[in-house]
């Protein structure tokens, strides 16, 4: 579904991703782990054409992604939930969802409300006044409004209490079960491994592990990569 071939990224001469080649298959739920600066966010941003100077090939369903035009890749079905700043804080929850859904007619709002009832309950609340967990749920809901085939998430558990992290992971599981491919970049390994079937570990821009989540959990020297 999403294929990376020999992808390299460097910022100001400093290499961040080195010769990355991998394939994300339809319907998979994949986690990407790594220490700070390992290249996780760059890999996600490459996937939507948001990194200038990336070399190599990234293709989505056999067609190369459009570089420098995040919105065009989104319209093709690649959803991205960036880290942190992913909701429009000055707008109400309902208006956030309506902005997200303007390019995707077909009434997915009801589906989003069914999946996340809290968004309907908080419809008139300003998004900036929601809790961090609710903002994350809203960001997920907004992304679903675009009917993505694959959903890329950049550290959705950052800054959230453990109980809220479980809620977010449950939501992602439901999204994956409904047929959406999920790729999640995370630092919270234990919580994420409960969700994913496959894990990839990046270290200094290279893939050092790519296998089943259970295999990664059983690795005794796991923490040497972080």
């Amino acid at each position: 579904m999403l294929t990376y071939s020999n992808v390299n990224v460097s910022y100001g001469g400093l290499p961040v991703l080195k010769d990355i080649s991998l394939t994300i298959k339809e319907g998979e739920c994949v986690a990407i782990f790594g220490h700070n600066g390992a290249g996780k966010t760059s890999l996600l941003r490459c996937s939507v054409g948001d990194v200038e100077g990336a070399t190599g090939t990234i293709s989505y369903r056999g067609e190369p992604i459009v570089r420098g035009a995040v919105f065009m890749n989104s319209r093709r079905g690649i959803g991205l939930v960036p880290q942190g700043h992913n909701v429009f804080r000055q707008l109400t929850v309902r208006k956030n969802l309506s902005v997200a859904g303007l390019n995707s007619p077909g009434g997915t709002l009801e589906e989003v409300y069914r999946l996340f009832p809290v968004l309907e309950q908080r419809g008139n609340q300003i998004a900036g006044s929601l809790s961090g967990g609710q903002q994350q749920i809203l960001a997920l809901g907004m992304s679903l409004m675009t009917k993505p085939s694959i959903l890329l998430l950049d550290e959705p558990s950052t800054g959230l209490a453990p109980v809220i992290v479980n809620d977010v992971m449950d939501s992602l599981r439901q999204i994956n079960l409904r047929g959406t491919t999920v790729v999640i970049v995370e630092q919270n390994i234990p919580a994420t491994l409960k969700l994913v079937s496959r894990a990839i570990v990046l270290k200094a821009g290279r893939i050092v592990f790519d296998g089943a989540g259970g295999d990664l959990a059983r690795k005794e020297d796991l923490w040497a990569w972080f």
């Binding site: 939507v48 948001d50 995040v70 919105f71 989104s74 319209r75 959803g79 991205l80 939930v81 960036p82 942190g84 700043h85 992913n86 909701v87 429009f88 804080r89 000055q90 707008l91 208006k95 956030n96 309506s98 902005v99 997200a100 303007l102 390019n103 995707s104 900036g128 006044s129 929601l130 809790s131 961090g132 967990g133 903002q135 960001a139 907004m142 992304s143 409004m145 675009t146 950052t158 800054g159 959230l160 209490a161």
Partner: protein, 302 residues
Amino acid sequence: MEYILTIVVLIAIFVILSSSYNLVIGYGGLATVAHPIFYALGAYTSALLGIHFGLPAAICVLAGALVAVVASILLALSALRVAGDYLLIASLGFQLGLLQVIKNFEFTGGPGGISAIPNTITGPWRTPAYLLICGGIAALTVWLIARIVHGPYGRAITAMRDEELAFSALGRNAMTIKVVVFAIGCGIAGIAGGLYAFYFQYVSPDQFEVLHSAAMLTMVVLGGMGTTMGPVVGAVVLIAIPQAITFLNLPPAVMAPMQGIIFTTLVMLFLFLRPAGLVGPLSRDRMAGRTALEKSSGGVAE
């Protein structure tokens, strides 16, 4: 009485100008200082068409707006790919460069400007008529901007301004929205320029210097950036205050610096004490403070 009415006409023109600047910088979040040059393009185009072709004033003003729109799109397509400091610098270069062109061409009157712009309305009702026209267009501008920003497109503008990557990731083309907002704002500034040219019948480059950006910014900040009525209040206060100072009979050497000091002091006071401006709600001050705090600490609300 004529003097007072002239001040009110000037206020109406600056309501148009500051409202259009607010659309660009307040709602669109596009940090530009080039707004005076689009005002100038409207004024010069209208004046030259009126003088050389004798076209009706309305046609000249609309043509001035069109030239401002075309120029704004040219700037937007190159400069709006960057943001923040880079956009500021690009707009500064555009403003200074184009003003130099105006100053150095013979047909624009050089540094001396253009006088003898046709008087389209004559007689004792000239100023009241202009007051109606300028006031009407100012009201129309405020209404139009309110319609834009409070509708679905306005929500998209706000979303694009606040979180561009998240906005693009939802399949929305941020660049198109930026160009449209910029073009609308600059086109309206062009209309303000045309009205100025026909009312005062004289335009010169020093009326469109980059320092006028500071005056427009002061109007927007003082009134309330990102509010519909803020620039209206800002324009009224900041045109009225300098005129009130003239009644103090101060020497010209003191007058000009004093106006500058007042503008600067007001901007600083409002930015620190009342960032939402005169019209913005108090809650927005708290929100602005909270957002700034979160952004500076890199944290997320919980």
